[in-house]
Symmetry: C2
Subunit: 331 residues, 2 copies
């Protein structure tokens, strides 16, 4: 069975998964979703989360399949399913063991952030006061990730570490979920210089729909978001752009507290929020959940993108990146 709809990919979600949301993926026409498997979980706990996902996939064969390569996206598309790709928003699952990089890849891991807000064993997070760049371990970890095909993701990392990762990695890297700071200056958004270096190297940026990353926050308009993408296309070219919605649909506020505080803090860290806005912010009205994914395509058309460009941004650019990134490096 083939379908005429284009391939759509959301390259970052962390929803409170359920059969209802798997149906919404189908409704939204998503052929692939890169799902976050862990934030602060160690190896064993991450494997537990993988088992949870493996069971979802096993018990929803009409909706889901496990994604490991670009071709799996095509197969999912041809059979009306969503290919699920596992990713990690921190290097916590590899603990202090470089050998776990290959193991995590064998288990389906395809993206791994080198740090999440804080200093990690590999690189600095964007909430640290100082950024010394990649550590000794970090440099070796990138080489190993390049070897096995686990993509370096610097979404939550600090600037110098990001520049160094772009320069050191022999394969294109990704910022799976962030927006340009020239559109909305937030700590998690990225400077022109970083996005330029990233995309010049062949890397991808996935635009985020998380309100703290949006101009005017929850009140951000679809037009403003799509105009930002239009300017990004002018600056960096269409081929490096995709979507990584950072959607945390149906998650309770305890989840964002876990993301921000993990096990490391005895004080309350509010991250991008604040004491009086401690929980998840409201999503913009035009992107309240997975079903609204097609709205972005409509918005892109309204700001003047051609159909081919829209298809590229909404999925095909990520597919090209998947094709190049997830298998062992050629010798």
């Amino acid at each position: 069975m083939t379908t005429q709809t284009p391939i759509r990919i959301d390259n970052l979600q962390y929803a409170n998964w359920s059969p209802e949301l798997f149906s919404e993926m189908a409704e939204a026409g998503l052929s692939a979703v890169h799902v976050t498997i862990c934030y602060h979980e160690n190896f064993r706990q991450t494997v537990e989360n993988m088992i949870t996902w493996n069971r979802y996939i096993e018990t929803h064969p009409d909706r889901l399949m496990h994604g490991r390569t670009g071709d799996d996206v095509r197969l999912a598309h041809d059979t009306g399913r969503t290919a699920i790709f596992y990713g990690f928003q921190n290097c916590a699952p590899m603990e202090d063991d470089i050998g776990l990089i290959e193991i995590l890849h064998q288990l389906g891991g395809r993206f791994m952030q080198l740090s999440y807000n804080n200093q990690s064993l590999l690189a600095t997070g964007c909430y640290e006061a100082e950024d010394p760049g990649l550590t000794r371990f970090g440099k070796q970890a990138i080489a190993e990730m390049n070897r096995v095909g686990l993509v370096v993701d610097m979404s939550h990392s600090a600037d110098r570490s990001t520049f160094e990762a772009i320069a050191l990695s022999t394969r294109p890297i990704a910022i799976t979920h962030a927006n340009p700071s020239w559109w909305h200056p937030a700590r998690r958004n990225k400077s022109h210089e970083i996005i330029k270096a990233l995309t010049d190297q062949g890397g991808m940026i996935g635009f985020s729909l998380y309100p703290h990353h949006l101009k005017d926050g929850s009140a951000c308009s679809l037009e403003s978001f799509c105009k930002m993408i239009a300017e990004a296309a002018e600056r960096y070219g269409v081929k490096s752009l995709g979507i990584g919605s950072d959607l945390c649909q149906n998650q309770p506020d305890s989840v964002v507290t876990w993301m921000r505080n993990g096990r490391w803090s005895r004080e309350m860290d509010y991250g991008e929020g604040s004491a009086d806005q401690a929980g998840f912010p409201d999503q913009p009205s035009w992107f309240e959940g997975i079903r609204d994914f097609p709205n972005i395509a409509n918005g892109l058309a309204k700001v003047g993108f051609a159909t081919e460009e829209i298809d590229a941004i909404m999925g095909l650019n990520w597919l090209t990146f998947y094709d190049a990134s997830f298998t062992e490096a050629k010798p």
Copy 2:
């Protein structure tokens, strides 16, 4: 049963433990030894190492007892035994969990390095190219270590991180095993400025007998070592000085490879050694093992120290530090 011998403490050993070495401790008159329990071991593995030690202590009640406070040293001394204090040369056993600091203390942990050569989640190690100082997590960890009575040890940390730890810690910290770089400029030895800041704050330095830390290495003379201590006494006062021999008696070379490479490196890291001297260096002739501990006292006498000063450096200074450091902070 009381004994007339003074209290002697070696505040850092990592030997290949055996009943023979427990006898040597008695022979050397050691009332306390701070033993390294782990380098790169995670929490569970560190607990396993503690269990090994708990069994040693249980099965050698004539020789050993578990040391938790300064008074345990006095009891061990009065009963002709050696009190064993557990310590960690890295923050690996607390993983990413600030709650494990109290747990490790409850299990007997009394010293913990914030980093071991590399960048850790808390602080920078002395082999990194850059030292950004304490991390966000590191600052919270020091406060928690201060609260429960787990001593901050910066022996393998980089300079800025060490200065910041000295400044931030509300209780005196330690450099359990290192020598002044003004005597022997090695990467692991410490500058005058660091030792001055440390000792001004009430902290202790334990002088190391590890050949890479010694002037002339394995050929270092006892006189040279003791003259170094005499100069340190002039610069910093006798009361901040002790011994932390860093003795790795009977360990195979695979152990130093583990210390240097852990699980993080796919290349061979030689640390203070080199490809043609990859293993443990030979100990100086006057400090080949635990039994030679009294030689240091003789050497100190020869360079002019009074008996009272020798007793302070050889054990009583550490005892005073133990008394002040190992119990919960007074509110």
